[in-house]
Assembly symmetry: C2
Homo-oligomer: 340 residues x 2
DNA sequence: CTGTTAGCGCGTTCAC
DNA sequence: GTGAACGCGCTAACAG
């Protein structure tokens, strides 16, 4: 690795000043065509182009936004839904000439990661914002947009109406005649404190739907699992060690796939023996189409990134929570019980 | 967004020098405990922590490595295999206190993206390195590791022996008795010039396997498709408009899933009517286990990232090509024809 | 209108 | 424990 030429080198070899060189690259109209050609020509010879670090430093920008992982990369990125959101954010970055940085916890610390992240703005997803994270965020004076966050957190945020979606999901299950239901919910927050807000809101929806059928949340088996394939498998194992329900409702498609794998490996057919319902609407998976709640990953990603870029641009501080739509997808994994 | 406190502010309020403040954060042992406490205390009050941009600038590092997308994010990140590689790279980044930047082409230009990328090193995957890209890379004086690249490109690289893998794949297909075979290969390089090197090498393997069975490449139908679900679907459509082969061999699992979806929607059963063989070994997909060539995404990702970090560290310039293993996975999508 | 001089941003680090 | 130089490109103010 040789060392890069600097603006100085070009200035000297070309006989012009640093300013002229800078203009040649950034404001060609401010110098003569002759000067510009000469400078650019010499720059090409020496393989010079302005150092992004120095340029960004002097302009006070990083030209990068960050996606803050709430967990280690293998967990966080193991969910196809998260990956789809990231892909959508990356598209918006491209349109803005930005780069998308995946920011893992720094030595297990999210606040440290926030303090050090070389970015102009952050998107969080499913992050529980505790005091330390909030302080780190404030310290950075960065625009932040949260996905699936709380309005109370004070950030502009994007998400769905999880209570209504939970209601719809459970309502469909009940409408198909299922009464012996098990739920695979999402994990507690990273710090092990409490249920995530998404979980809480969806449960409220479940409760409402169940109440309409004369049932209550306490009457169904609930197990917690990470939003992952293996998490779903283990959750299914735990459920089956209790008894075999008629329907297993999950809060993440990727967990639903794990559940299906566990059931299949026991010779249980879906949906004949046990129905499985997912949440998210992931794509590209072979096999039976999941019966699930679809919330568009690309809409979530694009919208959150757009909001972030507009905050980066005009320095305005919206604190809006935007809801995107959701819908139930009739798939092949939810059986209609005779008579319903 | 208020403005951040600077090291100056802390120096003044605390009555110490900038140097002392810097030491308080980076080399506590170089100043007295008293000074350190006082400084850190004031820093906390003012919500100060060193600005990552300024710190990185003065240390000449970005604390970020980049994953260079050869295509737009939606295409490049639409492949679960690529995502798995990225996840593995992100893990290694975490271990090194780095961030992973996803770098899309900048206004459709990969060289521009390379020139501007705020990173200390780059990983490419499936990138055809033309002269412009090579020049941009040289101009940056950055360490680069390529995945699935050519040894001739001069970068340290990670990949499999694609010729041998192609041979193994085709050999298994032939060994199961298939003779009416169609191949779904990878797209030409972005600039539309020529077949990618991976394609070329695998085809060489096919040719060798076919020759052993008294056949030749020209005797089988080959269609090109992007390594995507929709690409696989379309490829299957094109193949079926010609005739219905006994086995469809693909060069990417995600394309194989698309092929399967196309076949299923026509009522063609797999593998009874048509066999499908993939390549990559993606995970977490429900439905039939693919018969495929498995090459570990996490090994590719981890190894390439480790190589990159060691290059960033010691400034040494290996130009080695490292091969990782691969294997045929007996799945449920390749039928054994009676008599074989 | 073309081009230059000089200072800036902010944390790090050498020499005292 | 400090003062001052440093990294590198940008840009306001100004001169020819």
């Amino acid at each position: 690795m040789g060392k890069r030429a600097t603006i100085q080198d070009i200035a000297q070899k070309s006989g012009y000043s640093k300013t002229a060189v800078s203009f040649a690259f950034n404001a060609p109209e401010k110098i003569s065509a002759e000067a510009r050609d000469r400078i650019l020509c010499i720059a090409r010879e020496l393989g010079y182009s302005p150092d992004p670090m120095a340029r960004n430093f002097s302009k006070g920008r990083h030209m990068a936004i960050g996606f803050l992982l709430p967990q280690n990369p293998d967990k966080a990125l193991g969910n196809p839904y998260t990956q789809a959101v990231i892909a959508a954010i990356a598209e918006v970055c491209q349109e803005n000439g930005y780069v998308l940085s995946i920011i893992p916890p720094f030595r297990s610390s999210i606040p440290e990661a926030v303090k050090n992240a070389p970015v102009d703005g952050l998107i969080t997803m499913g992050l529980y914002v505790d005091r330390n994270i909030r302080d780190a965020l404030r310290g950075r004076c960065l625009p932040v947009v949260s996905i699936d966050g709380l309005e109370e957190d004070g950030f502009p945020s994007v998400g769905i109406d999880d209570e209504a979606a939970g209601y719809l999901q459970m309502n469909k299950v009940l409408g198909h005649g299922h009464r012996d239901i098990a739920v695979v919910s999402l994990p507690k927050t990273a710090y092990g404190k409490s249920k995530s807000d998404v979980t809480r809101r969806r449960e409220a929806g479940y409760e409402r739907a169940l109440a309409e059928a004369g049932m209550s949340l306490s009457s169904i088996l609930m197990v917690e699992s990470s939003a992952s394939y293996s998490g779903g498998k283990e959750a299914a194992d735990r459920i089956l060690s209790d008894h075999k329900p008629s329907c297993i409702v999950t809060m993440a498609d990727i967990a639903a796939l794990g559940v299906i794998s566990s059931l299949s490996s026991r010779g249980i057919s879906i949906p004949e023996d046990v129905s499985v319902v997912g949440f998210d609407g992931i794509e590209h998976t072979a096999g039976p189409v999941l019966s699930t709640i679809v919330q568009s990953a690309s809409e979530k990603g694009r919208l959150s990134a757009s909001m972030l870029f507009s905050a980066i641009g005009d320095d305005s501080l919206v604190t809006e929570r935007k809801h995107i739509g959701f819908a139930f997808q009739e798939g092949a994994t939810l059986r209609r019980i005779y008579g319903y």
